[in-house]
């Protein structure tokens, strides 16, 4: 039923978008997202999609156009990276608060300055409080799978939230891998139809989007947004299971790799999770009880599952591909550590900031992390809480 073909991350994102065939795509080019929209524009030119493609003059306008289209009842998409996402900032909060299930590939790239086109997660991590669901992808296959699942997740009546599908700039966006792709009609059947139940154009049932909302109701609306995000994990799991039944590739909030009996656990999101798996394979051959816990959804944050998955671990390293200046460690670390606070029996948790601006993170460096974890587990003490992996000091 599926066909395996070679795609780069950007190409497979475009291929998924071709199958999704959104009503509206509004986008502005930015490295390393460019090839996604370039490829999609070819599909528009060839008439292979019926999408109304809007070439806007900035990302601020791209997201504004998506908000307008989605409020009118259309399925709207865009794609961006780094400074492009930063320029959308004002509008991404609005998209989430209007409960518009816009789906957006975010090709992770370092934010300026100094200017850098390579991968880190500073762009999407900065948007973690914007109200968007965030799915992180390890490889090209997951870019496809996450995009196909993003629509039924975001458009679920209990959720109605926009979704970012994040994947690592250049490492994934410009790297070719084999990807199993569903037949068009199977993919489209899985995605389903979108019906906005509060369409701005439904004049028989008039609604308003974005009126002034002061101390009388703003708080209640925010509380509802929190509620929607709290309902998202069940929907992510339900859709992930349905997708698995269709393809054999099952998805949840997290993925674990040799975690069952692992004393030493690394937590990571994105392409480096794959490098951690390769490291675990090598360490297991040496008899080290190493494991990986991969974050797929950072928003909603899977607190309950993380506590359960880490119940047997002795020492845990949380790898963050972004810095949170002035905080104690990276964003994923902060939340993992906080999640474990109430637990009677909890592992030692150490923060590692790595790979900023595309700095390569190889197997030997990750082995060093496991080595540090082994030392911590043995002594019962963390010698350095926040570490910078592969930086010149």
């Amino acid at each position: 039923m599926e066909k395996v073909m070679a795609f780069t991350g950007d190409e497979i994102a475009a291929e998924a978008m071709r199958q999704i065939n959104p009503d509206v795509l509004a986008a502005y080019p930015i490295t390393p997202q460019t090839e996604t929209v370039q490829k999609f524009s070819e599909f528009v030119a060839e008439g292979r999609v019926s999408t109304d493609m809007i070439r806007v003059e900035s990302e601020h306008s791209a997201m504004s156009a998506c908000v307008g289209a989605a409020a009118a009842g259309a399925r709207a998409m865009t794609a961006t990276s780094a400074n492009g996402l930063a320029l959308m900032w004002e509008i991404i909060y609005i998209a989430a608060s209007y409960r518009l299930p816009i789906v957006m590939p975010v090709v992770n790239r370092a934010l300026s300055g100094p200017i850098n086109i390579h991968c880190d997660h500073s762009d999407s991590m900065g948007a973690r409080d914007s109200g968007w669901i965030q799915l992180y992808s390890e490889n090209c296959q997951e870019v496809y799978d996450n995009l196909i699942q993003a629509l039924p997740i975001g458009e679920d009546r209990n959720v109605l939230l926009p979704v970012m599908v994040c994947f690592d700039g250049f490492i994934i966006s410009h790297g070719t891998e084999g990807v199993a792709v569903l037949e068009d009609k199977v993919a489209r059947n899985f995605i389903g139809e979108f019906k906005n139940i509060h369409s701005l154009l439904d004049i028989d049932n008039p609604v308003t989007y974005g009126p002034l909302d002061l101390f009388d109701y703003y708080f209640e609306h925010k509380r509802q947004q929190v509620e929607a995000m709290e309902k998202a994990p069940e929907v992510v799991k339900k859709v992930g299971k349905q997708f698995g039944e269709l393809t054999g590739r099952f998805y949840g909030l997290l993925e674990d790799y040799h975690l069952q009996d692992a004393d030493l656990v690394v937590i990571a999101a994105g392409s480096t999770a794959g490098t951690v798996k390769a490291t675990v394979d090598e360490l297991r051959e040496e008899g080290v009880r190493a494991g990986l816990l991969k974050i797929r959804t950072f928003r909603p944050f899977p607190q309950k599952e993380i506590i359960q998955k880490l119940s047997k671990a002795k020492a845990v390293a949380v790898m963050d591909r972004s810095a949170s200046f002035g905080a104690i460690g990276g964003p994923i670390f902060l939340e993992v550590r906080s999640a474990l606070f109430e637990e009677q029996k909890k592992p030692l948790v150490i923060s590692y900031i790595y790979g900023l601006g595309g700095r390569d993170t190889g197997i030997n460096q990750i082995k060093q992390v496991y080595h540090d974890l082994a030392k911590a587990a043995q002594s019962g003490k963390v010698s350095q809480l926040v570490n910078y992996l592969g930086v010149r000091e």
Binding site: H118, N139, D168, T176, G274, T275
Partner: protein, 190 residues
């Protein structure tokens, strides 16, 4: 643990190192192998040294880091030998393939690598002769396949036909195929 064959491509931006690295990966996929092909971009300007990588295995490839210990190194421009340490990390049994008018002895001496593991191919000459343009990446793909036998030559030629025929027309594709074969035969005879 499954062995992964890793190849490092050195070129100057515009010579097609990235295309070659990805093309080889795509052809490997056609033979049912697990593949990765990816570039390493620096400053994006024509003529700047760039690298690209190919990984191939019979098992899933999970790592997403640079290639640091390649089994083969392909150099698309011999002027890079003065500026890049091309043999860095090259496996002991690995070999190096250089697009050059010099002999494999001369190249071996220059890079400090055993003569028996150095292939010198005049890919630029082949390309100018057949395609009337200096596009060394396709003949170097043929040379690499001859040296590694990583995939079948037929698979490579088929993939190239399928990928480029529509875009560039059959005349250009046939030229490329001819150049690939020529370089393949040159390496086979070395």
């Amino acid at each position: 643990m499954a062995q992964i064959t890793e190849i490092c491509w050195h070129g100057r931006a515009g010579q097609g190192a990235k295309t070659a690295a990805l093309m080889l990966a795509e052809a490997g996929l056609k033979e049912g192998k697990y593949i990765q092909g990816f570039p390493e971009y620096g400053p994006e300007r024509e003529g700047a040294p760039i690298r690209a990588y190919t990984r191939m295995s019979t098992q899933p490839i999970r790592r997403h880091c640079q290639v640091t210990s390649p089994a083969a190194v392909v150099v698309l421009d011999d002027s890079l030998l003065d500026v890049v340490d091309v043999t860095a990390g090259l496996l002991d049994k690995g070999f190096i393939l250089v697009n050059t008018t010099k002999s494999s002895e001369e190249i071996g001496k220059k890079v400090g690598w055993k003569k028996s593991q150095v292939y010198a191919v005049n890919a630029t000459g082949i390309s100018l002769d057949i395609l009337k343009r200096n596009l060394p990446n396709m003949p170097m793909l043929g040379a690499l396949v001859a040296a590694t036998q990583l995939i079948k030559l037929d698979t490579l030629m088929d993939s190239i036909k399928k990928k480029f025929e529509k875009k560039f027309g059959s005349q250009i594709v046939e030229g490329n195929i001819k150049a690939i074969k020529k370089a393949y035969e040159e390496v086979e005879s070395q």
